[in-house]
Each structure stands twice: as structure tokens, then as C-alpha cells.
């Protein structure tokens, strides 16, 4: 069975192989480990370019917007999400500038495929993983890849779209077996995926937490409880009514969000669910900062047994933060 990184690399390699007049670029994408396997065995169309670049992330981001402005397809592959902080000015200001006078449908395509370093030992400097924060500031779409279904759908439908977006991978999932799920439903904008249908609990997985959500689903099943598992892959879900409908049936919601942020999208879902289903039991599992508003621990681990116990206890109107 392929690992997460190998399987996604194969999907990407297949998708980009026939895109004409495109530019695929990034640091070390054609040498060495090819970004730890992310860009391995890339072959591009004769009319396209595969460029191994120097180390200048800010400029890489501006280049993508320039190519997009001229109608080209540009895909930047980057090792770490925190490197992209250098491009924030372009994400916010340059793209806003372009969108102010150009219809996105008339633009080329610019996608940044990037790995969030969240494996637990990168250290405090290089472990920024909150894709949602970056997308929120710039008001741009950003998609996380966590399993066979969301990866295939997002790469197929979003990679070549006009305009700009992030597609982000998780380093902590990279060496693991690629999660294989059945798909019940996917929103047309690739924002919300549903993998299981159950009647006792609803599990909403944000950022890269789908594997943990599936684990909780399995633990509940061992106790004879069925659950609906959703993943919210885009930071701008236009419609998560399917999650709210599920909670209205199950009466229980668990939100998992591993983003290192004090501004979680999961809180917005909790708020909406609280208004729509006030009697539901709601639990959110996040990373707690280990200093006030400061560094969060690298590892994201959930205590499934404790969560199951909480879920099966008496309903509470107040959300619980774990």
C-alpha cells in the first residue's frame, strides 16, 4: 500500500503531465529527494517548463501571479508552509490588485502545492501549520489533502482552475499508509467531504485531522455507536449545511482542528451549530498554546477513549474544549 506522500505525488505527476505551456517550479524539485518525494518523477509536456529555482520564496510567489496575469498555468511546489509567509504581501496585496480589475475567469492559473511541517519534531521556528490563517488574511482558497478521496477530487478539480489557491499536504501523514475512504458526498467547491453516515455523533475534521476523525469514528463503532465523518478541506466553505443537518440528527458534534491558531474555523462551525441545534452536545479538540497566545505543541494527538466517554455522557448545552 502506498504512503500518503507517494500516492499524492503520483496523482500530481499524472495531473501535470499533459498541461501545455505551463511552468512547474520550486526549490530542489528536480534534484535530490524532490521535496521529500512530493515532486518525484515529474514529467511535463514538451511545451511546458520544469524549473529548479534558487531560494527566493517571496519572488517565487510574485512570479506565479505574473504568470497568472499573462494567462499561463503556474504551479509552485514548496517544502514548507512557513516558507510561504515570505509571500504574504503577494497573496494579500498583489492578488487583491489583480482581482480588482480582472475577472478571475480571464486569468491563468496559479497554485502553490505546499507541505505543512506538522510531524512533531521540526521545532518552534518551522512548524506553522495554520493554512486557514494564511488564507483568511489573503482571502484566498486553500485546500488540505488528507486521504484518497479529497486528494483525487481537489487535484483534479482545483489544480488548473483560473485564479490562485493553495493545496497543502501534511508532513506528519507523509510516511503513513494513505488513508482509503469511501465517499458519500462532496460539495461542488471541494470545501466539505462526507465519508461515513451515522446517527449517534457527527465528527467535523478541519485542516489535517481526517485520520484522527476516522480513528474516533472507529472507536465509537467499537462501543456500538455510529457517526458521520466530515472533513472541511477549504477554509472558505460556502455551505456546510450538510454538517448541521447531521448534528440535528445525532445531537452530538466533535470538531477536530489541529491548526496552530487562536482563530480556528472550527469555532465558526460550533457557533452555527449552537444556533441551529442548541441542545446538541459539542466538543472541540484543538492544540492548546503552552504559553499564553504562544507556541503550541507540535504533536496533535487525541484521546479517543476520553472523547467517547464524554460523548456518551449526558448532553450538555455548553461546548467543551479539549
Amino acid at each position: 500500500m502506498a504512503t500518503y506522500i507517494t500516492a499524492i505525488n503520483e496523482m500530481l505527476a499524472k495531473e501535470i503531465a499533459d498541461i501545455p505551456h505551463a511552468v512547474f517550479y520550486g526549490e530542489n524539485i528536480d534534484t535530490g529527494s524532490r521535496l521529500s518525494g512530493l515532486a518525484r518523477n515529474f514529467k511535463v509536456a514538451d511545451s511546458s517548463l520544469l524549473i529548479n529555482t534558487g531560494n527566493c520564496e517571496y519572488t517565487h510567489c510574485g512570479i506565479g501571479f505574473g504568470m497568472m496575469l499573462n494567462g499561463a498555468t503556474a504551479v509552485l511546489f514548496a517544502k514548507q508552509l512557513d516558507f510561504m509567509l515570505l509571500g504574504m504581501d503577494h497573496f494579500v496585496s498583489t492578488y487583491q490588485n489583480i482581482r480588482a480589475h480582472r475577472d478571475i475567469r480571464t486569468l491563468g492559473s496559479f497554485t502553490i502545492v505546499v507541505v505543512a511541517y506538522d510531524q512533531g519534531f521540526q521545532g518552534p521556528q518551522s512548524s506553522f501549520n495554520a493554512l486557514g490563517d494564511m488564507c483568511s488574511v489573503a482571502r484566498v482558497p486553500g485546500y488540505t489533502l488528507t486521504n484518497n478521496q479529497d486528494s483525487a477530487h481537489i487535484i483534479r478539480t482545483q489544480l488548473r482552475q483560473p485564479g490562485f489557491r493553495f493545496i497543502a499536504l501534511s508532513q506528519r501523514h507523509s510516511p503513513k499508509e494513505f488513508l482509503q475512504l469511501e465517499l458519500i458526498h462532496v460539495a461542488r467547491d471541494s470545501a466539505v467531504f462526507q465519508y461515513t453516515e451515522g446517527s449517534e455523533a457527527t465528527i467535523a475534521c478541519f485542516n489535517f485531522t481526517t485520520p484522527e476523525g476516522i480513528l474516533l469514528h472507529q472507536k465509537l463503532r467499537e462501543r456500538g455507536l455510529t457517526s458521520s465523518v466530515f472533513s472541511v478541506n477549504n477554509v472558505f466553505p460556502h455551505d456546510w449545511s450538510s454538517i448541521k443537518r447531521s448534528v440535528s440528527r445525532t445531537g452530538r458534534l466533535v470538531v477536530l482542528d489541529d491548526s496552530k491558531s487562536i482563530n480556528l474555523l472550527g469555532y465558526a462551525l460550533l457557533h452555527e451549530v449552537a444556533e441551529a441545534c442548541p441542545v446538541s452536545k459539542r466538543i472541540i479538540v484543538t492544540r492548546e498554546a503552552d504559553i499564553d497566545f504562544g507556541v503550541s505543541p507540535d504533536r496533535f494527538q487525541i484521546d479517543c477513549d476520553a472523547l467517547v466517554s464524554r460523548l456518551v455522557s449526558e448532553p450538555s448545552k455548553e461546548p467543551t474544549v479539549v
Binding site: 511552468v23 534558487g54 519572488t59 510574485g62 505574473g66 496575469l69 504581501d89 480588482a100
Partner: protein, 299 residues
């Protein structure tokens, strides 16, 4: 001089005077606080702007800075669409959506103007790389100032453009100012020629403010960029002859007291491209053209 060359020369003369006059009109309304957006008048940029505009082919593209008035007027060939953009009117050159510092005119090759210092370097590299990928003709010209070129993106763009053999012409307008700070007040001297030499990028200094010199020189440099598929850097020495950006809160009154009543020429020195033009074509011819331009209703 043959008829065609004479005609081209007269057209340049008229473009220079017209561009100065239009800036005067804008400056007078700026002093009356008729604009809500900050406007960066560019007295002193006429020679380089008119020359750049004249060497561009229909396939070329411009990526400008916030101080883009001279280039936008030169490319538009008219005052009204630019003026209307400053008024944020729908009839403006960018539909009233971009205002001053981000003004674009794609139909005339101005595809991006950055109000953020230095963001246009990398965007210009992307424009040029897209041309290469799509096998499209033309060069990309990116302008900057002695302030914006302090940004790290300038160096990164030089390296990237050279590495990827991009058809990119960088024009550094060195007016010795970043807002109110002179170079000496804010940093050490930067030898742009040596920066270019370090990455094997050709460099050319333009310092005469003579549009008749600039056009053939820039035309030859553009051909070099296009035929050799290589970036190139031009440094144009300019003088700052007007206030920073009009009604900027806290900004003092125009220190140079530029006034349309004082005539086309702002400064009687080679700092002023219109002074240079007047010396070149003679006062009688210059005054005749100036009177002709001034008598027309432009706005």
C-alpha cells in the same frame, strides 16, 4: 534630416511638452485638493517615460510603481482617461477601480502597477516567464525608484531573470528620494552597476534627460534584450521637482512651489527634461509648441 525622422522628432517634442502640461494641470488640481486619492506627480520623469513609451512594441508590457503618472499619461496619449481614474470615475483608464497607485491600462501594455515597493519586480519576472512558456513575443519593462530597489526583491529578480534568460528590462528611476528621505539620509550608496555586474546583467546609465538621446539608446537596449533573451538594467538619473503625493496628512506644502503660471519648465538646469528640450530645439520653437499645447482644452 529626412521627412520621416523630422516628423518623429517633432512628435517627441510634442509628447514631452504635452506630458509636462498635463502634469501641471494635475498638480494644480492636487493643490486645490480636488482628489481623494494620493497622487504622485512625476515632474522630471518626462524624458524616460516618453522614451520608454516610444520604444515599446504592441507585444511589450509595463509593470510600474506607485509613481506611474508619467508612464500612464505617455501610454494613454491623453489626459482625460488618467484624470478620470484619479477621480475614481467609471470612465477612468482602469474603470475607476484602481485609482492612482495601481493604475493599469492593459490595452496600452500597462498590466500591473504596484503600490507596494518592489512587488512589481517578481510580477514582471512572471509576466516574462509566461511569455517564454507560451512562446509569445515581446519584452517586459519594469520600473522602480532608488527607494524601491532597496527591497530584497530587486536582487532576487535580477538573479531569477538572469537564471531563466527572461526578456526583462529594469528601469531604475534614481531621483535620490524615498518619500522625503534622500539616499544619504537613509542608507549607504548602492552601485547598481556593480550589482548588475555581479550577476552578469548588462547595465546602462542615462543621465542627460535628453529624450532624443534616450529613444535610440533604449531602442537598441530593447532589441538586445529581445534578441539575446536576457535581462538588462537601465538607471536613469532624475530630480525630484514636486511634492510627494499631494494631500498626504502632515505633509508640508510643496517645497518646490511648482506652478503652472511659471511656464512649462520647472527648473532651469539639466535636471529638468523640459529645460533640456528647450535648449535642444531652441526657445522660439519650444515656446510656440508650449503655447499650442497650453491653449488646448484637455480635460
Amino acid at each position: 534630416m529626412n521627412t520621416r525622422a523630422n516628423f518623429a522628432r517633432q512628435a517627441l517634442e510634442m509628447e514631452m511638452i504635452r506630458l509636462r502640461h498635463w502634469q501641471h494641470i494635475m498638480n494644480e488640481d492636487l493643490k486645490k485638493k480636488l482628489f481623494t486619492v494620493p497622487i504622485h506627480v512625476a515632474f522630471g520623469s518626462e524624458a524616460i517615460a516618453v522614451a520608454v513609451s516610444n520604444i515599446m512594441t504592441s507585444d511589450d508590457q509595463l509593470a510600474l510603481t506607485h509613481r506611474n503618472m508619467a508612464y500612464n499619461l505617455a501610454r494613454a496619449g491623453a489626459l482625460k482617461p488618467v484624470y478620470e481614474e484619479y477621480k475614481l470615475s467609471g470612465s477612468g483608464v482602469s474603470g475607476g477601480r484602481m485609482g492612482s497607485m495601481n493604475m493599469v491600462n492593459p490595452a496600452r501594455g500597462i498590466v500591473y502597477s504596484s503600490s507596494t515597493l518592489g512587488n512589481n519586480f517578481s510580477v514582471a519576472c512572471g509576466l516574462a516567464l509566461a511569455k517564454r512558456a507560451k512562446r509569445e513575443p515581446g519584452v517586459v519593462i519594469v520600473t522602480t525608484g532608488d527607494g524601491a530597489m532597496e527591497e530584497g526583491g530587486f536582487y532576487e529578480a535580477l538573479v531569477f531573470a538572469k537564471s531563466q534568460r527572461l526578456k526583462l528590462m529594469i528601469v531604475v528611476e534614481n531621483n535620490n528620494h524615498s518619500m522625503s528621505s534622500t539616499i544619504e539620509q537613509r542608507r549607504c550608496d548602492i552601485a547598481i552597476e556593480k550589482m548588475c555586474e555581479a550577476v552578469n546583467v548588462r547595465y546602462k546609465l542615462l543621465a542627460t534627460n535628453d529624450v532624443f538621446e534616450y529613444v535610440p539608446v533604449l531602442s537598441a537596449l530593447r532589441t538586445h534584450v529581445d534578441e539575446q533573451a536576457t535581462p538588462l538594467c537601465v538607471e536613469a538619473k532624475l530630480a525630484l521637482m514636486n511634492q510627494h503625493a499631494g494631500p498626504t496628512p502632515g505633509w508640508p506644502a510643496d517645497p518646490m512651489n511648482v506652478d503652472i503660471k511659471n511656464g512649462m519648465v520647472v527648473r532651469d538646469s539639466v535636471d529638468d527634461p523640459l529645460h533640456v528640450l528647450k535648449q535642444t530645439i531652441g526657445a522660439a520653437e519650444f515656446d510656440k509648441l508650449a503655447a499650442q499645447v497650453s491653449s488646448q482644452k484637455w480635460n
